[in-house]
Amino acid sequence: MKPLTMPSFSFLLRRGRRALVPLLLSATAALAPGAARAGGVEPCEYASVFSGAALNLLVLPYRYEAPRLGGEGAGARVPQELERASQQLASLVHLELLMGLLKYGSIGAKHLQAMPGELCDVDKVLTQIGRPGGSGALKPGQSAVLVWGRLFEQGGQFYLQSYLRFVRQGPQGPVEERLGFELAPGLGRLEAGLPAQALALAPRRITREELARVDRDFRQAMQLRSEPRSEAPGRSIEFQPQQAFAYWVTGTRGDWMQLQPMAGGPAGWVQVRGGDEAGAPAWSLQRWLPELAFMDAVSGFMRLRAAGPMEAAERRRTERAIERGLQRYEQALSAEQAPLAWGLAAALRGWLAWEAGQREAALAQFERSRALMPDYAGARQLVALARASLAGPELGEAGSARLSRELMAALALAPDRPELLGNLQRLLDFFGRRPEWSPYPAEQLGQRQEILRAAAPR
């Protein structure tokens, strides 16, 4: 079977990665809104997003880390094959996530590669794509999900750990999500964020044989066919980690995705979602990396947050896909093994339920999130505000005292959390106008307001 290659891209990569940038940027710029379904590879230092995509996924390198000092094999040279494997994994993660994300529409996914000897720093990438009005940067309302990871060895076993961060672009740069709560007339809107928008997922064991098998299985499945039929003549995509991978996703039909290489070469159809409803496709990396399902779900959540109209039916489809992703992850890892991911999953569910007007169900999910993340201020704050909101249209004296105590308890865990400080400020200002509800005497109230003003971020 003759492999499909992309000679012009490979040549550019081999001769100099910088030469690739103008090509990819022009391709990015050409992406029309509404048809925003694309994948690409580019150097980390030139990180950019697809301008027409409501949601951009950026897969940063998975780095191989040598065994730590004192452990077995410490000080040994990094085996080339493991470096290669980590690069390959990032490529595969990118591909699989891209394919999964197509169901959310208006998406772009890029694999950022570090230059040899350089690191791809997530903070720098976020700064790069978050510059307000910058070329290749997110536009206000667009979302980004950043994924990266590491491959490491311990006691003869390989482990793979993924990290996740997600943001939405505000007028002045990336912002975190906020859920609004109206608790009483005159109080104004109080806001709560998610418990976390950055997460290290639980490390997973993976054997060298499994690494090889993932690659082999994937290559076998990635048959580019002339028609969206499994019997149609096909050719394997000869995918190399160091080789550029830049396709427009020009169409889908059922489980099939139509790929159009950006730099020429044959186009074709690939079967990509052959088991999405019943579980991961047989070749899926999710067999080893259930966190990909979690990332998919978080991406769906951020797709819902991105600006732009979304029909009710599409929203319902997206919500179902989010739930499937979360469930798939939870089936693979117990709450004991991954309490933070479970806690965040509960918060996401609660958030969606709250937005859908299912307030009691939302509170139950927020409480679950708090139980799983007892030391996360954000989880505590969500419960406090949801509970106060459900208590009735008026806070009252007892409700005010309880809310104050709960917000102060959250503040004890994260005294620098801006929306929490803002909520407390608004609440105290409100007590100034409704002293009969205030748990604090008047002279204390003024002092408290002064302290909170001093603590609030400028």
Partner: protein, 278 residues
Amino acid sequence: MSLRFSLLVLVLALSLLCGAAPARAALVDCQPVPGRFTVFLSEPSGSLLSQPGQPRQFLQQLQFELDQNRDARWVLSPGSDVRFVACPGRAPALDGQDFGREIVDALHTRRVLLEVWGQLSGASGPDGKPQPQAQMNYLLVPLQQAANEQAGAGGGSAALQRLRYPEAGAAPTPDPVQLIARPSDIDAFVASAFGLKLLRERSYELAHRNLCRAGQLLAAIARRPLVGRSKEELARLREQIASAAGQAVSQAKADAAYPRLGLLRLREAARPCDAEEE
């Protein structure tokens, strides 16, 4: 019966008596990470790791696992950079009798926050498969140091915490590392010890934050089906942590160097973390 035979019998009897009592283990030194707060992972006793090399391998795996868990919580990291250090060959007695004043002072001086050790044994699970069981000990060094200083002042210290794994209802695991590397447990004790240490160093806000965080994590442990001594010791620790959080508030307010608009001035020592009253 000759005198020689009588002496032999006496020696044997004494040996048996000594054998019945808990053996005082040799406490070899272990090096903390210079300039960092450290948690010592010492060798557990028991039948599960009886083969040569097993304890060392176990400790390395445990350190690795705990490092991962710490990294996984990097988003919180309230000012701490705590390192885990495996201490092969260091095998404290199960009852904690090795931790006399000198040893605890030395640990405290070298910024060791916590020492973890215990006993691992094997048993057959309901399905006949081997299922490890453990009693893990956690010595909160700053609390033990304070207790040593106040010896004779009365009131039991909660510096030594003991938890048994698996707990009732927990999913069985054949892996002893997975059994005991409970991130929230270790985190609760590290946050407790770190908060106490910071309080002694008059770093009030960071102490308060860690102590309140510890309070939440300890409360989560307390909701599990603990029994007997573990339950009582944990309850005592929770009281002491809440009290220390209150001290962080009262001492900050009384300290002329503490900012006039410092956040701890929002708080009352009696309700330092504004815990819910319901």
